[in-house]
Amino acid sequence: MGLFVAQLLTGLANAATLFLVASGLSLIFGVTRIVNFSHGSFYMLGAFVGYSLMQVLPGAIGFWSSVILSGLIVGVIGVIVEVLVLRPVYKAPELFQLVATFGVILVIQDLALMIWGAEDVLGPRAPGLKGIVRFMGEPIPKYDLALIAITPFVLFGLWYLLTKTRVGVLVRAATQDREMVAALGVNQSWLFTGVFFLGAALAGLGGAIQLPKGGADLLMDFNILAAIFVVVVIGGMGSLPGAYIAAVLISVLNVFGVAYIPQSTLVLMFVVMAVVLTIRPYGLLGREEVAGEHGQVGEPEKPIKPASGRARIVVGLLLLGLVCLPLLDSHFVLILATDIIIFCLFAASLHFLLGLGGLVSFGHAAYFGGGAYVAALLVTHANAPMELAFLMAPIGAGFAAVIIGWLCLRLTGVYFAMLTLALAQLLWSLVFQWDEFTGGDDGLVDIWPSAWLSEATTYFFFTVIIGVGGILLLRHVAHSPFGYALRASRDSNRQAEATGIDTKKIQWMAFTFAGAMAGVSGALFVFSKGSVFPNELEIAKSFDGIIVVFLGGVKTLSGGVVGAASLELVKDYLTRFEYWRLALGLLIIFVVIVAPHGIVGSIRRGYERLFSRSTTRVDGESS
């Protein structure tokens, strides 16, 4: 009994941090509709800033003022990010802003590395709360009790702010219809900035307040990211009490999980999320998302045209260049080109889902890594020949996509994205923790292609044929009746249903097809490297895919491929420098600001503006 209560209290104490950070994320999303990937970075900054302040400010007063100050400082950093990075791109297509926040993650990572170094720092213990209390013989840290006591006040404070003050009323109104709020004379840009300040400050506060328990390190940002998204989604997007309940649920289950089923720790929260979303698709206290109710300024999609003669020539020349690469006789160039083609196929498969289907999957790495693992497992455990293993990769990945797609497609929008993320994480943690079968963290090695493909040059040609073939196949399907039906389902679900298209089925098929194609790229990958590790299934890999699709241009057919090729090339060059993340992050932010329609989209717009000026003038005069 004593142990049980002690564990419960630990869970509640852990929930404090989780709730603080997640409530900030929820607020920012609720008002600005921005999926703020950099929220974990605000949390990390809070911890580091708090650590530095605590070195200077002594005693209990110093400790608590450091915590508060960290929140305020991180809040100001949030404002800087909002004003400099996000404000220029509010009008960009939906979700594009998340690419910018991804750039912010990279920048903050390197800045933190510069300022605080690579070593983990140990947080100071809270003065006056260093000891423990005994409850039925079980030790309970005093600081845990303090955290448990503080959280309800924070929740109450936020609740009061949002429901009882004018600012709160305006914030809630803006959550629902920003344009109308503006039409009533409220300058929403300061509302946005204010919400960003508050959201970032809460994350910073969370980072500083957990110092005595967890310290600070450079992995904190990504480590908490998945957890806070899970909390926000389980609680229901935009619901603070929901976030609190979810934070408690996750933290308490986690403590018991560690104690009784240690293998479950990584999987647990995603299982909870999958269960909750299956039963309550919009979270515990969330409300249904209705598309378009937030006054988004969506432009109609441009119809996709078959490639023009000129485009065909350009692609043909590029292919010719690719095929001639081995003439350079550089092993390094061949490997790089192989990597790029594989990544391009992966990005193209995600683009198919995201651009054509309008289905934003945050977990596409599951099928890339899934395909790679299927092939590797067959080779390792069944001694299967490479050809068979290669063939099974897309089938296995497609099978995973069938199941995950069926579960996720009952949801839409951000909830859909989050459930794909959760289930991908589930797969990742399964691979990560099932040592005996998957090799766990050590991965699977010695997965080489058959003799006829063992030469680097031959394997390169193999990659060109399969990779480019796959990309062309995806393109071909986009122009098929199935592709039309998919785009119809994206643009107007109800209208498509009314014309007799079974939109759910079409989307399910698209999800499966995209998964299978990602599986092909995974198979190409595993045989080119000879090994596979769990990080190929990670969130970071999924994010990479999303970033390149958006950077390339989500509304253009070649966007995914162009984005992937550009990023891979730039990365290859930049990673030679010490602070490459900083450079890459700034570059991403720069591209996002100057080319809000992606690389291809913005080039095309510029091109069209150049050539269509005369036509619009005629249009104007004819009236």
Binding site: Q176, A183, L184, P300, D619, G620
Partner: protein, 233 residues
């Protein structure tokens, strides 16, 4: 007080308003008439800068509105009641009114929640209910009341009678006449000729984004061919 000169507005590439010009004088209630798709809503949105006219000018009491952000237009005293009402369904009635509240304006009638609840008794009964619990007519009243909380100097009403029971339309007409008594100029975009006639002094008829008629309501009555050609009666 409102002076629109030669505005051209577009939705993407669709040319909606073509060299549209008209003005509204202080204290005047003007009806903007036309069929579906004639450009009524675009005209109202262009004044609010929710749609940015590509050419032309809009002056409000000597201030140029074009290129101003929407919230500044509202701050200057242009009150806007959208066609879809767009009340905040998750907020209570009182909270909806709070969003619209602006400081009092010199020389303009100062609206308070008490006066508005007096004008719309239905809202008082349900002031702590959420917006989503209201009927269509009540939502329309709330939308008007919310905009009045900003103490506007000019009111833009976009098809207030659309989809509303005749009894309520009658009540709405009384409300607009009351606003007129307070000296508040109104631009009323309407398809319901009967309703428009009840409340307004002047009519502007547009079709395909072009102005077809601008004059006293009695003149419009005297020219049935305009009515038949451009209005669906």
């Amino acid at each position: 007080m409102l002076e629109i000169t030669d505005i051209n507005s577009f939705y993407g590439k669709a040319h909606i308003l073509r060299d549209l010009s008209f003005s509204i004088k202080p204290g005047e209630v003007v009806s903007l008439l036309g069929r579906n798709g004639a450009g009524k809503t675009t005209t109202v949105k262009s004044i609010m800068q929710l749609v940015k006219p590509q050419t032309g000018q809009i002056f409000f009491d000597g201030v140029e509105l074009t290129q101003l952000p929407t919230h500044k237009v509202a701050k200057l005293g242009v009150g806007y009641v959208p066609e879809e009402r767009r009340i905040f369904t998750d907020l209570t009635i009182s909270e909806n009114l709070e969003v619209g509240r602006q400081p009092p304006r010199e020389g303009v009638f100062e609206w308070t929640t008490d006066i508005l609840f007096d004008l719309f008794p239905n809202l008082l009964e349900r002031k702590n209910n959420r917006g989503k619990a209201l009927s269509g007519g009540e939502q329309q009243m709330l939308s008007i009341a919310r905009t009045l909380m900003g103490n506007p100097r000019l009111l833009l009403l976009d098809e207030p009678s659309e989809g509303i029971a005749p009894v309520i339309v009658e009540q709405m007409a009384q409300t607009i006449l009351r606003l007129k008594d307070e000296g508040l100029p109104v631009l009323l975009s309407e398809q319901n000729l009967h309703f428009a006639r009840l409340v307004s002094d002047r009519a502007i008829v547009i079709e395909g984004g072009l102005k077809k008629f601008d004059g006293a309501f009695s003149e419009l009555e005297a020219q049935p061919e305009i009515r038949d050609a451009y209005l669906s009666v």
